[in-house]
Symmetry: D3
Subunit: 293 residues, 6 copies
């Protein structure tokens, strides 16, 4: 009398998740937090909503000619988020991720707001000290503080840069930021925006990244608003002028040979996704991430 019954299946898991963690290479885990959002909040509901939306896509990726059954992953559920308590929430994320990294698993974290990336990178960096971070986003997120706060969705990549070093941070799709953030990015020379919108631009950007990163371990963080708002309207701070789905996938494929040890997909906001298209795009992206790297 359990759900081993062949007519009942567990609810609330991403398509084709294994039944337990042990045999899995990759762990999907949610971080339903949106405390520091300056835009419209609601990304806390993304993990649950993306799991439901995953029913709308196929297991098979024609692009990669692989199917989800081939990716040994386990959807572990959600990290506990004490409401309104930024520090405890971040601590839980770091602990939760570390429990997987320390067991030699790869983690795919589902945000939540972008700040969740800070503790996730911290945990990954503990496991892989020469970590490189690839960052797809519309916003630079490089402020040193935001209204006096050091830990915020608007400062997260600055915190990440402090962990891995600015020279190990590569940014793609950024088209919004304060002047000081742009000065930082112009100094680093590792940010690509217009290049992302053409095949040739993507080719040369990817070549430079692949060459520089070589076989160092990579953490890949994707803010859904890297995509154009037409493609991903369900996000707190949409920014016109972004990547099409095809642009993004093409760039990811060009980076396929990198050794990706951790990933996240953040800032999906189901409360703003009337048609559900953002959720489906997110679910499809997750499928491709699981099968690509």
């Amino acid at each position: 009398v359990d759900n081993q019954s062949n007519v009942i299946r567990r609810s609330g898991r991403f398509l084709q998740s294994l039944d337990d963690c042990d045999g899995a290479n990759t762990i999907i885990v949610g971080a339903p937090m949106d405390i520091t959002s300056s835009g419209r909040p609601g990304s806390r509901y993304a993990p649950a909503a993306i799991r439901v939306a995953s029913e709308l896509i196929e297991d098979y990726s024609p692009t990669l000619d692989r199917q989800l059954e081939d990716a040994c992953f386990f959807d572990a559920g959600d990290i506990l988020m004490p409401y309104g308590d930024v520090e405890s929430s971040l601590k839980n994320i770091e602990d939760g991720c570390w429990s997987f990294y320390s067991a030699s698993k790869r983690v795919l974290l589902l945000g939540g707001e972008h700040l969740v990336t800070a503790p996730a990178v911290k945990a990954a960096h503990r496991a892989y000290e020469d970590l490189v971070v690839l960052h797809f986003d519309a916003h630079a997120d490089l402020r040193d503080d935001y209204y006096g706060m050091k830990l915020s969705h608007a400062t997260v990549m600055r915190r990440v840069a402090e962990i891995v070093g600015m020279q190990h941070l590569w940014q793609f799709g950024i088209r919004s930021g304060a002047r000081e953030e742009y000065e930082l990015m112009r100094a680093s020379g590792q940010m690509y925006y217009e290049d992302m919108l053409s095949p040739s631009g993507r080719a040369s950007a990817a070549a430079r990244v692949v060459d520089a990163v070589a076989d160092r371990p990579v953490y890949l963080t994707i803010d859904i608003d890297a995509l154009d708002p037409s493609v991903a309207p369900g996000t707190g701070t949409p920014e016109p002028g972004g990547l099409s789905y095809t642009d993004l996938m093409d760039m990811l494929l060009r980076l396929r040979q990198l050794r990706v040890v951790g990933m996240d997909l953040v800032e999906v906001n189901p409360m703003l996704d009337a048609s559900g298209c953002t959720l489906v795009a997110a679910a499809k992206l997750i499928r491709e991430l699981l099968l690509c790297f």
Copy 2:
């Protein structure tokens, strides 16, 4: 490295579900089917959405002075529904429910459309042959066929009446139907509508039901549209003139001494519930059902 970790919890379960079936008295299971809906479809998404909405309510019921921890229940997940195949879907529901009834569990089925009640009652009747059915709804659902179909959300209570006998069917809140359905209900004399809207009407109706049913096993089916559309707008065929939440709870409390062996809550439609209030009302009703009976 599993979700036994104290910072991660399984996703997609109703608030305070046990971790497995064995110690549970009551099993929650979803039946995400809306194939025969003549109104606006979408109730297939109710089980997943109600689970998410359950996060918005408290564990404790001030009305009953009990809390969910006291109800030993397990949320088993969802019954598999072959898309578009009415018969197989109903067969799976019957099999799924029977697997629990045969293990002496009580079942709380989450629809889906109202047709899911037919196989659920069939399974319950197999376990309890003198079953009585209490039916809260806006619609009679007593047609013999609907556009030629015998199995439909509009015929479901006729099918149920064929299983348990029309004299063992009690109906509450009905305010819509075809003439022939009203003739049937007037003949049975076991339908209450206006009475549901006043304390004295509910008291005398409840007294008659309690007296007649005595200690026979009871199956309780609640179509969310028994509630007024102002209270539960997220449903396919809203019908003005319904019960307030307080009316419904008051009536259920008056029936508390009955021996309820099976229950369902059907026709919640998240696609039509812009504010989420219907989902929260459904989650609260489920909490009260678990604690009341």
Copy 3:
């Protein structure tokens, strides 16, 4: 090869409309205009949307024990509304309604905004010179002008009063207006609000109306916002504190013996009716109006 085919039916008609005007007693016709709305516009889409929503209700009224087949009515379509031209639009409504009144038909006009009532009453008054008007609404609509305009949704009942005489205007459910409108209503003594919320209040109000009106011809205009916003959220200027659906129906039933020669239902706004409940309430009201009077 026409739609006389038994598998095809004409689209865009209210449930059970006859196929042509000749045999009909009552004509349903839409006036999709919302030019002067000071609240949120969109009521122009009401006629089309109510017709679609009529599929969600039954033909049979249990309250009246009659069904729509018994009401000989024809849904004629919509009156042409030159966009943005108030005067031509009102002229078309008057001409359209008069074409039916002059053929001894009863008209049930579907707004659009409340201003459509002015030309509709004008046409009815041309046919019935001792016309009395019953007005259900949240707003008095008795301003003499609104921002300098004589013809506006906010002045419509003042214009109507000029046609039939203030002493032949009865108002129900009004709970919002400017001070000068309230002075007018207090002087007339023919406005009921709190009374509408209790059975005894409705009984005595109805008795007084029935007594005063006797067998004079009656025009009944219902602004959907007479209902509480919880029951009918899809309207441009919702006003808390209104009638429940049951309150409104009870009052209408008490007026059943009146000789109603024209009716309208206005201010339904589908753009604000996320759940569709207002549309269904409107469709059900229309069914009851067709069967009641």
Copy 4:
């Protein structure tokens, strides 16, 4: 006293429809069915909603320099769909379409889900035995069965292929399917996806199709999700990476010389189209289809 009146027009018809079938070359007819949808249901409301949305577009096509008055078409209404009964619904579609084909009319069917194409092709094939089918879609729809069902939106093109022969099926825009469907398409060599996204790709694909099809009669089926979800979010199973509106129109124009005898537009879902843009795109596509072929 009819709607021949010059101030009243019939409701619920596509822009500029003739008043009857006889003088028409093309018949528009709706098939409001979504029974087997595995994605989010609601496409049953498409025919009614597209008719309302047609008011938002012009009669004149600047691309084709023709206007709707020149296309002699009649909007016949909707085919009757017994709720929940797949077989009877499909039978009605076949009968309804055949009644037009047998009278030498061209049919433009408005879904509903994609399964409606199966009986529509069957009827067309009865009239034109050497029929070729052109299929625009995001999904292959080539499964042999879907959860055991032979008739499903997910198997419809397999059924169509059985009628006309796989060699007479051409597919465009497909970017999702199971592995076995992709094997079938790779074997047939008649599916184009990436080509659809560039002018040169479309040119060579169109050239090959025009050459192969020559003057055989053509049935054109367009699933709205061939368009990218950014352009057509209102659909049950959106799939990122699709055609822009301009891509699709350009491809259709390149096929203009083909002899199109039947068409359909399916899978528009008004319940998921918050802004109404999908409905407007559908209405404009229908105008162009009527004027182009």
Copy 5:
């Protein structure tokens, strides 16, 4: 060339606000914060949205026979909220409110989440040391901590009770809480729920409050979810079984003789208010609060 021009008016103010603070008795000020929301966030947008919605109501209150011109109030704008920083946000609220209290103004604070009441009461208490607090809500908000946090929307009334003393806290409409919160309320004996739903219950509750409070200064905090979700669906944690608008207004009128020195209206969430009815109800409540006390 300024907006003193008679054809231009300042945007973004509540209906009939004075042009500056000096002549005003009451100050409206927004506190757009929703950081600690455990329910669905978005109440940060309430102040702006309520101001827009205020255009939909009249200046005149028929219940009170007064109009807004008579209430000398100034809408000062919004208190600055450093995103994600609970402590600084609360400090700003306290400072902002105190700047008005210290100038002998009355403050009407617009939330935001309920936690904004804590610093607002603190500022009021600094000005009026014998302050009494009246609390309308669905939720007790009396937890000592919430997931370890002392400052949270779920603990706010506990913090308030610590400021004014539990014996000076009166609660109305509470129907949800943890067991320990109910124990606290049962001990205090100053909470009314069922009484709020009947005239006689309200009369005796009001009599007791008026008697006990006498002429002590009163702070009135209204969580919009005290109202039933049918009336106010636009809120983060709707709780069925609440007050109607009429119930709430009737109770407030019975308390009219109290000396109210500060007020707030919190937890309105525009992101969940598809029809805008909650915003209109909030705007009307604010008008009545300004005119009543």
Copy 6:
């Protein structure tokens, strides 16, 4: 005790507006009118909603390397619109704009519907008699009358052409109109559509415009539906096949050397913008317009 307090800021202004008109070069003013909309109304709410949405964007434009602080602009509020009265509304717009032009200010008008451009151009023309108008739109808006009305959103550019001369009207992005409008545009030879979709097309169009306009004063009117509906779904009459945000910005940058003396942005409709992306795109466009010209 005023909002000069450093913790309170005025509500309802566009990001970084100065506090008064005197020091400003450019005046932002709203014209919340949608009376003559033949599409879906609601653009009256655009000015208020765009101001709220402006909080979601940065002050700094990376494209222009300038920030809003550098643009001396004042957001004056909204022009008064007598509901339903087209002529008075247009008169107020003309007077309001003229009060700024006569003080040598530049005006950026926020619609409302496109008809607001007629009086705005009239005022600008009074100040600059050799005015040239640049018009970005999906619709030609060149009808001589619309359903008999001379003043309508559908005739506005015809009225504008009568003021400045057809030879001084340049149109971009037009893809919808009646045959007679297309004849007019083909005769003028100053309309570009397909060119707008490619860099080379934009380059040559811009070169021709810059050459012809030289240093004449320019009025720039942008109908948001010039953008593709995927980018700007929140508009009354979306028209597929439009410009991407990047296309539009690129074209505007190519016109940067022109002497722009007046601007407007019209037809944004918040009632149709479920995700808010259109509002954000509008706010960003306004920032770029303020910084670009």
